[in-house]
């Protein structure tokens, strides 16, 4: 075991993992976190806590992770390179480990231009690939980036994100190989809608022998409505939402679209389970944590396995 996290144990035992996601509140209200967290209890193996996602100011990921630990839930700390340099990154990593956080997702971060403070100065001292290297060095060598010994190792289960739908498509498996070379243990993918393209990506990844070197969790984001599906299709760069999902949601009355979206998500999970090389799913039910349970249940993934 590298970190001994629940997520690591689930994956190491060969179970099909289920991770979820919790977006911190735009404010200091702990009750919002508790409410969202309870919806995910017993439903997912580990909960990603986003780091000022879409560059919108929210409660810090590390604090929310600590609250989840106090609630008896396992967090996965998302850390971006957008807002912190190598000094802050390493300091936060040490602090996060001291607080009991064991899973870490290394991200470059959404550009601040999209957020609520587009006037901000961004950092990008290191990129996500280099962040993975920093975390690995800390864990495997017990050293900081500058080679200094750490007083106490921070042993994280190292994760990263991959987007099989970003361009150039041919480079995406190479980029995953680089993340593995940098030291990643698991990856979670961008929301998958175009299953044919994901199958092609996974075929290449498996052929390159990458699926044996890291756990790949397939990203699922249920479409809550036709409006959301349209937004995802047209306004999120690097997402691929095929027309047939838009048509399918268009074909049902507005008050039934949410149910249809859940049905689609469940079907997608079932399709994903058939794809060689996939070790689990990452359910990003954006502001829809209360619907996570019915999706995971309908997909036949409950109860979650126990690990020691």
């Amino acid at each position: 075991m590298k970190s001994g996290s629940r997520l690591e144990k689930i994956l190491a035992a060969g179970h099909f993992a289920v991770t979820g996601e919790l977006g911190p509140p735009r404010g200091a209200d702990v009750e919002i976190i508790k409410k969202k967290a309870e919806h995910l209890r017993g439903v997912v193996d580990s909960i990603n806590v986003t780091d000022n996602q879409t560059s919108v100011v929210r409660m810090c990921s590390m604090a929310v992770c600590k609250i989840l630990i106090e609630l008896g839930l396992e967090p996965n700390l998302q850390m971006t390179c957008r807002d912190r340099n190598r000094i802050a990154i390493q300091s936060d990593l040490l602090g996060a480990y001291a607080l009991g956080i064991r899973n870490l997702l290394c991200l470059s971060g959404d550009h601040n231009k999209f957020g609520d403070h587009p006037q901000a100065k961004n950092v990008f001292d290191v990129d996500s690939m280099q962040l993975i290297q920093i975390v690995k060095k800390m864990r495997d060598e017990g050293k900081l980036l500058n080679g200094q010994e750490c007083e106490g190792k921070a042993s994280f289960f190292i994760g990263a994100a991959v987007n099989p739908f970003g361009d150039p498509f041919d480079f995406r498996p190479i980029r995953l190989a680089k993340k593995i070379a940098a030291g990643v243990d698991f990856v979670q993918t961008q929301c998958i809608y175009n299953m044919d393209k994901f199958r092609e990506y996974m075929k290449r990844v498996v052929d390159m022998g990458l699926a044996e070197k890291c756990y790949i969790l397939a990203g699922i984001t249920p479409l809550k409505s036709l409006g959301m599906a349209r937004y995802m299709a047209r306004s999120v760069p690097g997402l691929d939402v095929p027309d047939y999902y838009l048509k399918r949601l268009q074909g049902v009355p507005k008050d039934k679209q949410a149910a249809e979206g859940i049905k689609i998500a469940v079907e997608q999970i079932q399709q994903i389970r058939e794809i060689p090389g996939v070790a689990g799913i990452h359910l990003m039910a954006i502001e829809w944590e209360h619907r996570a349970k019915e999706i995971i249940e309908a997909a036949g993934l409950l109860p979650r396995p126990e690990v020691n």
Binding site: H111, F114, D127, M129, V162, G166, D167, F171
Partner: protein, 223 residues
């Protein structure tokens, strides 16, 4: 070259509102090439200011000059006569931001920048300029097919495109080419894709502005 663009006229009007006589000084270097602060632009701005101030009933007297460069003390000296003898109250510089700083160092009257210095770049077509360099102080473009990921990728990524690269464009704007699509295409054409498969390690930014204001000293050039 250093690329700059003129500030909005209202902002410049506010800067010189209290003065009756100013020196408007352009530069024959980079800002002439990028059509922001050469002799022609000095003339246009001077006319605009004169007309606007005349309308307000508070005429502004403007002495126009364009220097060979404003990033060299010897040329800055060439306006000393005007400033010391003609009763100029302020200097409005149309050079990149180096110019007004040199002016401010040499002359004891207020200095104002008429331009916004935007970036180190080049022309894409007539009337269009783009950023190509952030002066990191340690050029690495040869690892990336001659394309700088620091200045041309919105996130300055060293190891490939982020998830937002779509159809050759950057997630920040469809006006921006994804630098990593360009790097990928170029390295593929050069038959060097395997080089992009290597993890590029963390960069030493101490040669960049992060190491403090920089200075180049050439002992062999000193007099």
């Amino acid at each position: 070259m250093v690329v700059a663009e003129r500030k909005p006229i209202q902002e410049i009007m506010a800067m010189v509102a209290e003065y009756n006589k100013i020196l408007l000084v352009g530069c024959k270097g980079c800002v002439t090439v990028c059509c922001a602060g050469g002799t022609k632009e000095v003339g246009i701005l001077a006319s605009t200011l004169r007309i606007a101030r005349k309308k307000e009933g508070k005429p502004l007297e403007i002495i126009e000059r364009t220097l060979e460069r404003q990033c060299d003390p010897e040329y800055i000296e060439q306006v000393s006569d005007v400033i010391e003898k003609d009763g100029v109250e302020a200097i409005l510089s149309m050079a990149c931001s180096v110019g007004p700083q040199y002016m401010a160092k040499r002359y004891n009257i207020p200095v104002y920048p008429a331009l916004n210095t935007t970036f180190i770049g080049g022309a894409l077509e007539h009337g269009v300029w783009a950023e190509f360099c952030q002066a990191c102080g340690n050029c690495i473009i040869h690892y990336f097919g001659g394309i700088c990921p620091i200045s041309r990728c919105s996130k300055s990524l060293f190891n490939g495109p982020c998830g937002g690269s779509a159809k050759g464009k950057c997630e920040v704007s469809s006006e921006i080419d994804c630098a990593w699509q360009l790097i990928y295409d170029r390295m593929k054409a050069l038959g060097k894709l395997d080089e992009l498969a290597k993890v590029f390690p963390v960069k030493d930014w101490s040669t960049s502005r992060d190491g403090g204001p920089r200075k180049v000293v050439r002992e062999d050039m000193k007099l």
